[in-house]
């Protein structure tokens, strides 16, 4: 009887907990829904009736999306394309070169390698503000101010975390596998690309996700490095809507915000498991 009672009370507790969390979940989604709703409203109604559904009077239909495309003195599609180019190029570059470097410095482990490794770890605690002025001047003088060359800057500034994570993984894989490859006649290149690289897959995914989340959403580095009259990314585009003269069209702004978060939410829903795992792995860096 007693046991029966504790079981039902246990079950009731869990149901209550479920309901409470479900309510919090709904509240959690509300901000995104508010953006969705307001992206279909006329500008003047966004501020006064933020939380009402669009009515016949306040609805703008798809006009905000049409206006948003050219809004802010810069075409939105261009910002989107440059965001994709910069994110894809930088992430690819970082994954390829830092994993190679991490393998080399963990295996050769000379004094130079250890020094380089500690410098990388050190770079992780340096805030961007420390280097932003000199970095943007350096990048400028080396003509790294285009979407095609800014990945070099990302590789340089983001190398620390990536090398740290890859090196941590390399230390955990047994040397015997690479020894076997060497004895079978594989040179370092072949050993790396056909033996080590495939084993690194899980870490590749984790690092790749962290880099994508960082670079896609990054504002300060591209705004300082890129020539922003020519090239913008989505965060720069959104920030400069406010900077353009006159009052801001909130309806069109919300339409663009919606368009800019949809790709990330789709990406999240598609690779949710990897993203959560990657973030947990990256957090442990401390």
């Amino acid at each position: 009887m007693n046991k029966q009672q504790t079981l039902t009370s246990e079950r009731r507790r869990k149901t209550v907990l479920s309901v409470v969390l479900a309510v919090i979940c709904v509240i959690y989604v509300l901000p995104v829904l508010t953006v969705l709703v307001n992206s279909f409203k006329l500008n003047t109604y966004v501020k006064t009736e933020t939380f009402a559904l669009p009515t016949a009077e306040s609805s703008a239909g798809f006009a905000n999306f049409v206006k948003g495309m050219t809004f802010g003195n810069y075409p939105f599609w261009k910002s989107a394309v440059y965001s994709v180019v910069i994110t894809v190029l930088s992430t690819t570059l970082i994954l390829l070169f830092t994993s190679m470097a991490a393998w080399y410095i963990s295996r050769v482990n000379s004094r130079f390698c250890r020094g380089f490794y500690y410098l990388c770890v050190f770079s992780m605690v340096v805030p961007f503000q420390m280097v932003m002025f000199t970095l943007s001047k350096t990048a400028d003088s080396l003509r790294l101010n285009t979407p095609w060359t800014i990945p070099i800057v990302y590789l340089g500034f983001g190398a620390g975390l990536a090398i740290f994570m890859f090196a941590g993984f390399v230390k955990s894989i047994p040397l015997e596998i690479e020894e076997a490859a060497a004895i079978d006649g594989c040179g370092p290149l072949r050993t790396y690309f056909s033996v080590v690289l495939p084993m690194m897959r899980p870490t590749m995914i984790s690092v790749g996700i962290l880099e994508i989340m960082w670079i896609w959403n990054d504002y300060l580095l591209p705004v300082l490095v890129l020539d922003i009259n020519e090239y913008r990314t989505i965060p720069i585009h959104i920030q400069y809507l406010k900077g353009s003269y006159g009052t801001v069209d909130l309806g069109a702004t919300m339409a663009l915000i919606l368009l800019s978060i949809i790709p990330m939410i789709v990406f999240y829903l598609l690779c949710q498991k990897h993203i959560i795992k990657g973030v947990a792995a990256g957090a442990v860096k401390g």
């Binding site: 050769v108 280097v131 939410i265």
Partner: protein, 298 residues
Amino acid sequence: MKGPLKTFFKNPMRRWAWLFVGPVLVCFVIGFVWPFVQGIYLSFCNFRLIRDAKFIGLDNYLAALRDPSFLHSFWYTALFAVVSLVIINVLAFAVAYALTQGIRGSNLFRTVFFMPNLIGGIVLGYIWSMIFDGILSQFGTSILLETRFGFWGLIILMCWQQIGYMMIIYIAGLQSVPDDILEAAKIDGASRSQTLFRVVIPNVMPSITICTFLGLTNGFKLFDQNLALTGGQPFIMQADGSAIKTTEMLALNIYNTFYGQGTASQGTAQAKAVLFFILVAGLGLMQLAYTRKREVQQ
């Protein structure tokens, strides 16, 4: 590495150093080492461009420490970092604890709570400024008009973004608490709260270390959200004509000192940046040393 392997393995590898380490090394120097060294040097110089730098000793640091807006932003940031750290961690731990009780819908809840992390800081700022202004305009005011609105608004924004992130770390920690310890506590007749405070929390100390550290440095380094939500408004005019931006945090203050219109002063800004670096790096190391020590005692 031992004798024969060295000849077979290590020496051939060194011949490929230029390919394996070269690209990262070059970019690392361009993207970090050179700007860092130059940044330290320039903090002792008077300059507008880099070419005209003149060594002036510690004047920049004195100017930075005498700047009322810098001191204001320091205290404002410190208060923000501590308050947000406590609120976010308590709530994140509570959510993680609830989600590891084996309730229905855990996966869905986890998915939803983590979702805001995918949205960038600038966009987050504009989403929330619309929401806050939607509420506050009913009372005839705006988030840009009062410092306390800006402060708590940013706290709410950061909670929305960071709870899911910290939750993931806490869930990983909670799942690694061995079942037999919990079982033992149950058999010994420990109550629910006793189990939580005496068994569960000491066993997730490593996660608490990580989250405290992350929360504190995230709070201090916050920039995008601060810029997009209030941009430092409201301003208070000073007697000498300068303005104190009451919701301006350290990172934004440094940015404005570098690039602010009319008031820019690169030397002072670089000195502020060095002080900021020492603060963030030192804070992280202290925090880590302190909590690691406690873990050992457990």
